[in-house]
Symmetry: C2
Subunit: 138 residues, 2 copies
């Protein structure tokens, strides 16, 4: 073990890939789209904590069904420099917008979960009905 001092400060592409269960291709693709900007050590990519966090955010965004373009905007909000007033106002506006979207999604999820429970109830009823007419052990 030759890097016990600064260990876990940076990662290779393969390390990130296995940790987040994505392919190398995927990670490179995200870089291509400007979502990740790893350091280069020679030709190889070196990922810093910032990149790792961003990858996590990207994947969470994907689970939420956002497109990479949308994710780019969201993720860039996180490490935006204070900037000028107009920029800040724009950011706050974006936040309001995203929040509304997410709350709609949450409602959709609640509804769908409720529907699933209904289907499940019906399903269990059908099942026990089946087992009545054809008693256990047939």
């Amino acid at each position: 073990m030759h890097n016990s001092q600064v260990s876990a400060e940076t990662w290779s592409i393969a390390e990130l890939a296995t940790e987040y269960a994505v392919t190398l291709r995927t990670i490179r693709f995200y870089e291509d789209r400007g979502l990740l900007t790893p350091e280069r050590r020679g030709t190889a990519r070196v990922y810093h904590p910032r990149d790792k966090v961003r990858l996590g955010l990207i994947l969470r965004g994907k689970r939420l069904g956002f497109s990479l373009d949308e994710i780019a905007k969201i993720v860039d909000m996180y490490d935006a420099e204070p900037g000028e007033e107009g920029q800040l106002v724009y950011l706050l506006d974006q936040i309001t917008h995203r929040r509304a979207e997410l709350e709609q999604r949450r409602r959709d999820i609640e509804e769908t979960l409720a529907d699933l429970s209904e289907v499940e109830t019906r399903c269990r009823a059908d099942l026990s009905a089946l087992r009545w007419e054809r008693p256990p052990g047939s």
Copy 2:
């Protein structure tokens, strides 16, 4: 008004399209993928309440970021015939699966909303800081 009696029992493709704010193309595409099966009156499509409900479910599924294939499975669960035991067991399994997915998504949403609140707080702080150093009316 010549159809005041059985009105709202069936709909044309255009009616559904405007009501749900999608294009005709989209609706036909969903039919092509087996998600909708409208009646045919001559050459025209006639949509019954069942189709309308399904379209609503499809669009909700889309908002949740499911693919049409996944949506097909989900939606088909809703109006599955009682069927045999194996089928019912399969269905219950699917329900468990979907529920897990949705709950993951809900967690993702909660986290993202929390993050957004953080960014917002930081943003508002930066903003008021700016307005302090450069007092109102500059």
